[in-house]
């Protein structure tokens, strides 16, 4: 190749590059950057708003956590804040995770390259989970400095699993169509309500409610992560398993659904 004004030199002779999956791992650093540029700021903003609405009043009312422990009212509010944060984080992270690339046509250049569509999106999901955990860890660090030392050891691992539970549904929705955030919100809210109403129902209601994710267990699971109550491992695995199945179904859809409409 030569400069633009000179005569055109021959492009280098064709030679094959070994196409290693490791390059997608290198590209993951760009995806992590995309998370911080596109998703982290709105996630932090929404979490801080939740903190302002739930945690700050509790701190004013019940006091801060100290070396001897945290007031019960504070732990309740902390648990609620974490629950809201994970829901918001998963919703924001998975909104458009697949659908935007289709809608905006970005897939054209990504997938003319020697890239597996499924591997690309599986890594993107993992990267966004990592990004969310980094955001959460950062905010918990700020919280520990500004409010008091309160960092339950199970918080981040359980937050990761709950992110998979909720985000997996969001991923499937995004793989299927562009109305992903509406779908995820509808599933979370409707299943929370229906599980509350019909958990002990029989007949078609029992069938329907068991198709939906057990979102009514989220409060207890996140409560355990926040040190409020004991962990019911079955609830956690049911939720996470549901998310994993949805995520895998999403990958199947991604692999089968046409990327282009025309």
């Amino acid at each position: 190749m030569t400069d633009a004004t000179g005569t055109v030199a021959a492009l280098e002779p064709t030679r094959s590059h070994s196409v290693s999956p490791a390059r997608l791992a290198r590209y993951a650093l760009w995806q992590l950057r995309d998370y911080f540029v596109d998703k982290a700021v709105p996630t932090i903003t929404l979490i801080l708003l939740s903190v302002y609405l739930t945690l700050v009043p509790a701190i004013v009312t019940y006091g801060r956590p100290g070396p001897s422990g945290a007031p019960r009212g504070f732990v309740e509010a902390f648990s609620l804040t974490i629950l809201i944060s994970i829901l918001e984080g998963a919703l924001l992270a998975t909104t458009g995770i697949v659908a935007d690339d289709r809608k905006l046509g970005y897939f054209r250049f990504y997938f003319a390259k020697p890239v597996s569509v499924q591997r690309f999106y599986a890594i993107k999901f993992g990267v966004y989970l990592t990004g969310f955990l980094l955001v959460l860890a950062f905010l918990l660090g700020v919280h520990a400095i500004a409010v008091g030392p309160y960092f339950p050891p199970l918080l981040l691992p359980i937050a990761a699993l709950v992110f998979v539970a909720v985000g997996g549904i969001g991923f499937l929705a995004s793989a299927v169509w562009r109305y992903d955030w509406v779908t995820l919100s509808a599933v979370v809210f409707s299943s929370t309500i229906m599980w509350g109403l019909w958990e002990k129902a029989t007949g078609w209601r029992a069938v329907l409610v068991r198709i939906l994710p057990p979102m009514d267990r989220l409060g207890e699971v996140v409560g355990a992560a926040s040190g409020r109550n004991a962990l019911h491992a079955l609830d956690l695995w049911w939720l996470t398993g549901y998310g994993v199945v949805c995520f895998l179904l999403g990958l199947v859809v991604v692999g089968r659904r046409p990327l282009a409409k025309a």
């Binding site: 290198r26 054209r108 990327l259 282009a260």
Partner: protein, 304 residues
Amino acid sequence: MITFTSVSHTYRSLFRRVHAVEDFTLEIQAGEVFGLAGPNGAGKSTLISLMLGFMSPGRGAIRIDGVPPRAYVERSGIGFVSELMNVPPRWELRETLVRYALLAGIPSNEVKDRVDRAIELLGLAEHRGKRVKQLSKGNLQRLGIAQALLREERVLVFDEPTHGLDPVWSLRFRDIVSELRAGDRAVFIASHNLDELQRLCDRVAIIDHGRLERIIDLNAPPPVASRTSYRLTMANGHEHVAAVFPGATEGDEGAFELPPLELASLNAGLAALVGKGALVSALTPLESSLERAFREAVTEEQRV
């Protein structure tokens, strides 16, 4: 190298069906620069999406090096320039190329060098720090071409590659395609610009309403008996033209439009003109063989 065998594809919506491609059969050889021409909505974009494995045909089969397109792309990659330059607007130009270089499987230690050379080749050095949303249409198109050339792919697909390029860069693109000609590489160009296809391609397929109408071999000599209209420009001796070429109509600046003529009649006429002391300064066909074939193919289709 690339084969389409009885390929059909139909778009279905709730209320209607559109047959985008119908019973399309074609073989593109390695070493060939192949063109695709057709009116708007003829099925060009669908064929390209099928060739890149962005969707699968409803019927028939496409193979690249013997494997389905998606499998080929995921294994080897295709250099692709899209008519629609869909790149996230906040990416910087150089960043864009680095990202695509990584996805293309270029080794880390070669990425910088490859990206810099692609920037240089497409004359984008002064824009390397600009965001995609700040680029003009032409520069965006050059970025699209640059990303397709990062790696020496064996299959290159250009969809309206000179759309938005100024004349200088349109000419430059022709040079680049000439350089891309290689024994084991197939270059596929879809364009509305018939002149461009005529200059660049070995063969051009004309499609209309999703059907392959004809394939023009541009390397084949024109049939001696074919009749073509010409534009004749005279330096002097204008007064002899009407007598030598009955039916010629005079335009401006000493130019005449000659009626359709066979080569033998044309050459005899020119000899007669020169014999009378006239000086011919230019003789050009009014339409290229491709333009003629395109017009005939599309007109025939409309008649049917």
